[in-house]
């Protein structure tokens, strides 16, 4: 039996490169091809690299030529990077996915598509169930731009899955990631000595350790299941406990002032918080990971609590002092 042929979008990211490297060393995988605008973060041995923009319609014509059987869509931007507008982020997320799925329509060899999506679709709501199961995705209106992006991506993917019953379509819903290597909203939030919180709120948060995030993606490629699957390190952690474990000090701000205060604090080097992340800091969110364990067959190594503890032990960069930054 010939080995699998796998296409990875967003291969320039840490997770994308790490996934490519793990798949390269798998004898069951015949061919790996990565697609991104930037070259891979790690040196890859037998992965071909296509430097292309997913939003560009030309890219769509390249994909069928690779005759892959599996597509891993890993190019979903969770927060606008430096110099990236929310408009660009929306384009990469929605138009990128649209073009990719359009390309898949013309590639008859495809049997599996795995998208690394976001648990952001559930939102952060005070009245939400303490653990979201996969079928509870549209319990509440999509409030932020990123949530609407994720909603649109899921809609596109569902439509595709309906049209192609022979293709196994897996939507992985990732909780925010944490880890010593990754640079995410959570790790940025925990970098400065002070961490802004909502006065009087101490929500339950849930993260996924970077290794578990990678492990889950790999497991979903090897054993894809139909529909959505939550990805998180099990358990939850209170925001205050997370901040204190990371050796930081909570800075409680009154609710109505929170947005303005945190955006003023960006001038002294505090991270810019997205609308989603602010809601997360107020109401929190946790998901049920039964499906990940029982159906995909992946058991995370870390719990949310041990993931944060491990991050605190070796990951948390030593805090740059605020005054030093303000002076520079």
């Amino acid at each position: 039996m010939p080995g699998r042929r796998i296409l990875i979008t967003g291969v320039g990211s840490y997770i994308g490169s790490a996934l490519a490297r793990r798949l390269e060393s798998d004898p069951g995988v015949e061919y790996v091809v990565g697609l991104d605008m930037r070259s891979p973060a790690a040196t890859l041995e037998r992965t071909s690299f296509i430097e292309a923009d997913l939003r560009d319609p030309v890219t769509a014509t390249l994909i069928p030529q690779e005759s892959v059987d599996t597509v891993v869509h890993n190019q979903i931007v969770r927060r606008p990077g430096p110099g990236m507008s929310t408009r660009t982020m929306h384009d990469i997320n929605v138009i990128g996915t649209l073009q990719l799925l359009a390309a898949c329509e013309r590639a008859p060899t495809i049997s599996t598509i795995v998208i690394r999506g976001s648990a952001g679709i559930y939102g952060s709501e005070p009245q939400a169930p303490q653990f979201f199961r996969e079928e509870l995705a549209r319990l509440y209106p999509l409030r932020t731009r990123f949530q609407r992006d994720v909603g649109e991506i899921e809609n596109l993917f569902e439509t595709y899955a309906r049209r192609h019953s022979d293709v196994t379509c897996t939507m992985l819903r990732y909780q925010p990631a944490i880890g010593p290597v990754l640079d995410t909203q959570v790790t940025r939030y925990l970098a400065p000595p002070l961490a802004p919180t909502y006065l009087g709120f101490d929500p339950r948060l849930q993260v996924v350790h970077e290794e578990d995030g990678l492990g889950a993606l790999l497991a979903a490629v090897r054993n894809p299941v139909r529909g959505a699957v939550n990805v998180a390190s099990p358990g939850t952690i209170g925001l205050t406990r997370m901040i204190r474990l990371a050796g930081r000090v909570p800075l409680p701000l009154a609710g109505p002032l929170f947005g303005r205060a945190t955006s003023a604090l960006t001038r002294v080097g505090m991270p810019d918080l997205s609308a989603d992340f602010m809601r997360l800091l107020r109401y929190g969110r946790a998901v049920d990971t039964t499906r990940l364990t029982n159906e995909v067959g992946f058991t995370p190594q870390y719990t949310t609590s041990t993931a944060v503890e491990e991050f605190a032990r070796r990951g948390a960069p030593s805090a740059p002092s605020i005054s030093a930054k303000a002076r520079s």
């Binding site: 005070p126 939400a128 199961r133 009087g200 406990r241 609710g255």
Partner: protein, 311 residues
Amino acid sequence: MSPPDRDAVTAATAFLRQVREGLDAGVELPEAVVRSTAALPNGARTALRRLDGRYTEDEWGFDEDFAHAVEPLFDFLFDLWWRVETIGVQNVPGHGRALLAANHAGILPWDATMMSIAMLREHPLPRYPRFLVLDWAFQLPWVSSAIRKLGGVVASPYNALRLLDDDQLVAVFPEGIKGTGKPWSERYRLQRFGRGGFVELALRTGAPIVPVAIVGSEEIYPTVGSSATVARLLRTPYFPLTPTFPWLGPLGVIPLPSKWRIEFCAPIPTAHHGPEAADDRRLVLELSELVRETIQERLLHNLVERGGAFV
């Protein structure tokens, strides 16, 4: 100065001296503080441990340290403020899943916390019940985090099912929002039990239902009226007016010292019906009515037994 005061001062001085020595030796301030904690008494060490994040919360956010720390307040309320008497606490299963169904008035779950204290102090196998709280309370600062740390969760069937599947003891208030806004004149008159959702949960998980009648809790905030206009403005389900709230500001939140009796009734088994019975409307409504009647009957009985509300 009395001896304990002098001890505290000695400890504080020893601590500060050690911190200063650490700083003199070129250690950063946080490090120096941590190194000096050995000089502190036990309580302060616990507080510092919490400042480092070294405490546990379960996946629901229940924080045993916190529950333990506020116990003196609840003990005071239990023994002196409300003089709670408990009856039939041995009716609650000591292990495995079970559903406590009680009458309820007011937003703040004082009745649930008193039930917890009763379970902890008087049950031969003490256990913390998890209670379902009206979702609106989770929008409130402080209240929301205190409730979750004490074992409260949002009143959602998904939460209840997960807790029962996890073999927890779960407390529900089937009157729901109708009980929350009950006026003074309606006290101890049980409202309709919705569509019997709590019975469905019990049937689906095979958990026995323990009806609980709580006398006293419906007199702590005598609601004499409510303002629909203010409720709309604040986007709250209702805005109660009591003789003290909102006129006295935060003081109006202090509950009145009524006398309480909590009776745990005999459990109603549901496991023999099987999980499919959860879809049997007739059975669900019958059981729901049985629980309602039991609580109502025991409420009236205990009201007579208790006598005057505040003496």
